[in-house]
């Protein structure tokens, strides 16, 4: 991917629906600057290790504004694989 040098594990605020049957559905991600990203669709849910930033959890493949990205539920925390752009300090 152009411009992306690496990724890092970024814990995020998530608004989620915890259903009666125990399943969890993330509704939106709240970024640290207060921006809110609505999860438009959940394309895939599975337990998986993050190969990019390490750790393991329930991995949601979510579609946010026509972009697909992974959102991990590490129980009790959520994290994303944040893009670190080339030249940016890590």
């Amino acid at each position: 991917m152009k411009g992306i040098e690496s990724r890092k594990k970024r814990y995020v605020d998530v608004v989620a629906l915890h259903r009666e049957d125990g399943s969890v559905r993330p509704l939106s991600i709240v970024w640290e600057d207060g921006r809110r990203f609505k999860v438009d669709r959940i394309l895939d849910t599975r337990r998986a290790a993050s190969l990019k930033v390490g750790g393991t959890g329930v991995r949601f493949l979510v579609r946010i504004r026509d972009r697909d990205t992974f959102l991990f539920y590490e129980n009790p925390r959520w994290f994303v694989e944040e893009k670190v752009r080339a030249g940016e300090a890590r």
């Binding site: 337990r47 290790a49 190969l51 930033v53 390490g54 393991t56």
Partner: protein, 417 residues
């Protein structure tokens, strides 16, 4: 099937921290506390010749730039539990052997997964890699010993099948030290008689093994021949964990006054048995062996006696009667030897969910057990003292004693101090 998570601590660290991948990593104890030895090494560190249990300075000398990490046990436990969650999807018979190794008995469930152990092993291996980011090596065989041998035979990330056709080639040609429970000392002793491979051990004579090693020798030969029939012990996935393997339940009490009469002793035995049995039931266990401990009132010496039941039980009636029979067999109650304290312990545990051989002649046990569960429920709602046994009411000093609530004595400390 035996599943071994390769270089477990180091692999988990590498899975958790991608920056460590591909680097020589060791997880080691704290140097300041003089615990500075290598607990696990990554594959990369292994390539430098670093060994487990080596001192850190030795390891550093072999490999400049070695990454040394302190152990993070909660993290390893998390990965260990996640791995077992995967195993439980293939069988309920999963026996942990430390955090990183497990035996799986697929005998009863293999047909549900297509009937091919190797295919199931591949699937488990693949899932562990995808879901946890670490690798496993798996040994498949018809007995636990050879399965363990198989998982050690090739690693990391490998599957080895030990079959009735190939075991003589693979297992018997290997050095005897690779067999489970053959340590260095045993290996040396065997070598003195030119028993060097597992095959040699399998062919050793009764007389030699008995003379040199006692019954253990015969056990090892059973292992070597692949005749070990030890079952994979089921652990209740919901509550059992490797770090909490309960071996026994015991309660003991120093009586409010020294005990001279049989009825007082009986009251105390029933009180203790009740607490032990209740705890067994709460944890979903049954015990096959009941033990008592008696402490003498005069010189404070103590002894223990135990007996094995023909069945496993969690019924208060069974525990109490057995314990009381043991006391009666050993105490005279003629007023000469007062008892200071008593102790009841239930060991040889099996999960209550395990199938049980029913007896044609003993049918009242489930009635007793149902009564016990009713009593448990009453006590849960109204307190441990809301309902008591007649035998316990004989001794007034014991009336207010709530063994279970106040006095869960640790079994070992009580009589062996």
């Amino acid at each position: 099937m035996h599943v071994d998570m390769n270089t477990f601590y180091a692999s988990v660290e590498q899975a958790e921290h991608p920056k460590l991948r591909g680097k020589p990593v060791v997880v080691a104890g704290k140097e300041e506390l003089r615990h500075g030895i290598v607990l696990t090494k990554s594959q990369e560190a292994k390539a430098y010749g670093i060994k487990t249990a080596e001192a850190l300075w030795e390891a550093r000398a072999k490999c400049p730039g070695l990454v040394v990490l302190p152990p993070d046990y909660p993290l390893y436990k998390k990965y260990s539990a996640l791995a077992r969650d995967i195993y439980y999807q293939y069988t309920d018979l999963v026996e942990p052997f430390g955090l990183d190794e497990n035996w799986l008995d697929l005998t009863g469930s293999i047909h549900l997964h297509g009937g091919q152990p190797r295919v199931v092993a591949e699937e488990i291996s693949e899932r562990i890699r995808a879901e946890l980011g670490v690798t496993v090596s798996i040994g498949i065989s018809w007995n636990k010993i050879f399965a363990k041998f198989g998982s050690d035979f090739e690693k990391p990330d490998a599957i080895t099948e030990i079959t009735r056709e190939n075991y003589q080639d693979i297992v018997w040609n290997s050095p005897v030290g690779e067999l489970l429970y053959v340590g260095h000392a045993t290996e040396r002793k065997l070598a003195a008689y030119n028993v060097r491979t597992i095959g040699d051990l399998a062919h050793a004579s009764d007389a030699y093994l008995k003379r040199r090693f006692g019954t253990i020798g015969l056990m090892l030969r059973t292992f070597a021949r692949g005749e070990d029939a030890t079952p994979v012990k089921a652990y209740d996935p919901a509550r059992k964990d490797v770090e909490r393997t309960v071996k026994s339940y015991g309660n003991g009490l120093t009586a409010p006054h020294d005990i001279f009469t049989a009825s007082d002793a009986k009251a105390l035995i029933y009180l203790l048995s009740e607490s032990v049995a209740q705890r067994l039931r709460e944890d979903g266990m049954r015990a096959r062996t009941i033990a008592i401990g008696v402490r003498d009132g005069e010189d404070l010496t103590s002894y223990t006696r135990q007996t094995k039941l023909p069945y496993a039980t969690a019924a208060t009636r069974d525990v109490a009667r057995t314990a009381w029979t043991l006391v009666l067999a050993n105490e005279r109650f003629d007023g000469t030897r007062p008892i200071r304290g008593l102790h009841v312990r239930a060991t040889d545990l099996v999960a209550a969910s395990e199938p049980e051989q029913l007896s044609l002649f003993e049918s009242k046990r489930d009635i007793a057990l149902r009564l016990d569960f009713t009593i448990d429920e009453l006590r849960r709602r109204f307190g441990n003292l809301c309902i008591q046994r007649g035998a316990e009411l004989v001794d007034e000093a014991l009336l207010g004693v709530d063994i279970k609530g106040e006095n869960t004595v640790h079994p070992v400390g009580y009589l062996h101090s």
